[in-house]
Symmetry: none
Subunit: 221 residues, 4 copies
């Protein structure tokens, strides 16, 4: 039946073929993120991408390869991109902006899915994990690390190990992204806005010098 009649798409133009791989990758992030690699079904990815199961194999040799491309082509660039959102201002201001920009960036339903992917499934693919660390973590270390280094140098921040501090800052941020996505947590938790305020307060306190000077420095007025 469907073979004799043309498919019911808009007759004027077809989605550009070069769009297909991206549609599939986008659908794949969602499904992999929700179910994990093993439980993700190509059927569902295909359905969400609006293509048939067979079409996926025109662009990706296997489910595992599809996952690899999701990480490489979508997740790494996506997570890496926000790392650049640090422009002018003091180190403290830049750090706060870093936290708030990321929080805002991750405050969507899919965000926790991405994180789950890299935190939970990546370790099964050591090469991918290495790739991710090289591309994203190293970048973080550099970008945010530079901010910290300058802050330390200028006395805005206390003496600390910039590389280690980057991990500490991101740990606070990312774990709360995960937690905010859990329905159980949501019930008992504060609003997202309240949460990020708490994170900013916590992190800045952790980074600032113990005694700025003679006078107390009230935070979060």
């Amino acid at each position: 039946m469907s073979s004799s009649t043309p498919p019911t798409h808009d007759p004027k133009w077809r989605r550009l073929p070069e769009e297909r791989p991206r549609q599939i990758l986008e659908a794949a992030i969602a499904v992999f993120g929700e179910h994990g690699i093993a439980a993700a079904k190509l059927e569902e990815i295909a359905a969400r991408a609006g293509v048939s199961k067979g079409t996926i194999y025109l662009y990706f040799p296997s489910k595992e390869d599809l996952f690899r491309e999701v990480i490489r082509q979508v997740l790494v660039p996506r997570i890496a991109q926000v790392e650049h959102e640090l422009t002018g201002g003091t180190a403290i201001e830049q750090i706060e902006r870093y936290l708030r920009v990321h929080w805002h960036y991750f405050d969507r339903p899919e965000a926790a899915s991405w994180l789950r992917l890299v935190l939970f499934e990546l370790h099964k693919f050591p090469d991918l994990e290495q790739f991710y660390y090289d591309e994203v973590i190293a970048l973080s270390n550099r970008v945010l690390g530079d901010v910290l280094r300058r802050g330390v140098a200028s006395g805005e921040l206390r003496q600390l190990d910039p590389a280690a501090s980057v991990s500490l800052i991101k740990a606070v941020l990312l774990m709360h992204v995960i937690w905010m996505s859990s329905p159980a947590a949501k019930a008992s938790a504060r609003a997202p806005q309240h949460t990020i305020d708490g994170i900013v307060d916590f992190v800045l306190h952790a980074l600032r010098p113990d005694a700025p000077a003679g006078v107390a420095a009230p935070v979060l007025p």
Copy 2:
């Protein structure tokens, strides 16, 4: 073949039957932790428990039920247990001890697996997640929250939201447990001892009052 050769069981002793459920649960934690629910194979769990596939079904009705029991009977008590390790001393001392005890506790190969389980698979079982939050998170909030509350009251700690701070502290701790388990991270990362020192330093700075007094207090000399 098996009829002609004697079974290869240890002739010296037989495993006590009442041990079976626990053996299976222990094997299941490991396998679930390594592969996730979907990719975990009962065959492997059985092999690791030293029993046959069918034996699992003498004690657990299904793979999913096995997972539920792993969470209920093993993980929740295990994770909850360490929450009690807070005894005398100042608030600051208690918090530091809390961090170090947990770090030591989680510093084994399986620990990251457990965390992966609760952080990544639990959300598929809302009732279990609720159970976990009630049993473990609520406990943390109470135990560690009380320490924070007393620290705030005594002036040892700055004004802060105890419940929110508990999350922040645990976020730093747990995310580093996960990260420490990744081979890629290990390559570039500091030693565990260095890491926990950094965590303690970071957290305590975040919690202490802004300006202790006139004099500067250099940290991490």
Copy 3:
């Protein structure tokens, strides 16, 4: 192996896909009939339908559902269809024709299988059983019952309960269908032609008035 040798499909034509469900249902009747539900293997049904095991699941959600559809889509219509084969003639003639048509209809290897199915396995599915009674038994009661009623009214048949007599007639017929299919019975039994003659004779005698002349002998007032 299968990759190096060409598949052994008939090169001349491919089975039409829209035929698949029916092929499977036909194979399923045979296998269910021979072995019963529990002992029937999907592997065998698939083989007999000329498809693979997985294909069955493209059309039927489970083995039990396949059985249900066998009953609904194939057996009930098939058994019900022959009920209509009653046309003109006296009541006696119609009954005889009813018996001989059914006998002829059931005189094939599969027939006993169908009967075994409905007589032996249906009671495990009360809803199906009700469905079968509504669709087939009620039909019999009506069609054959009407013949009997007219025969009674016209004096061709003796006074009797039409509904009950339908059961009695069918009992004789169906049980002999079952018996004829057993190899052991075959050895000792008469030929099919002889058997149906005996059935016709027996039934007609049972239905005819006692005393064509003289005194009436009302039975079952």
Copy 4:
């Protein structure tokens, strides 16, 4: 717990060991009858017999052998026994008694199960089927056949083939036993008493001479 306390049986005496096989056979009839061979579970048979699964294997080498013994030791004697219940009286009286005794005999919940067993599962065991035919059917043919023969000789019954008539009579009887056991049938059916009355009436009419008065009416010339 149960291992430390003696089982709760009568302390004075234990069931005689020689009772065990019979208990198991009785339980097996019930379970085989309800579920068929393939779907019958030894676990259930053991439970109903009040023994453990392993005990069955002390007396029967396998499930199939257990079924064989059920047929041989229990069903065949049980079904055969009632064949003897024919004593004095006219042929008509004997036949009526035969029908009513069997009807009464089969008017218990298990009866339909037995019949289902021999009618539906026996054909998978040709040797058993042969055995059953030799032991039960041949007996019927002889016992009931003799009654018919004498009835024919005495003119009480019309000219008919005694062997074939035995089948016809039993067909009516047995099929109604099966039908009476179905819940769906029960809803719409007459009471058992009514049913057997109808059967008796039907059968006797079928067997009696055509024309009690004047002219003979040869059938099946």
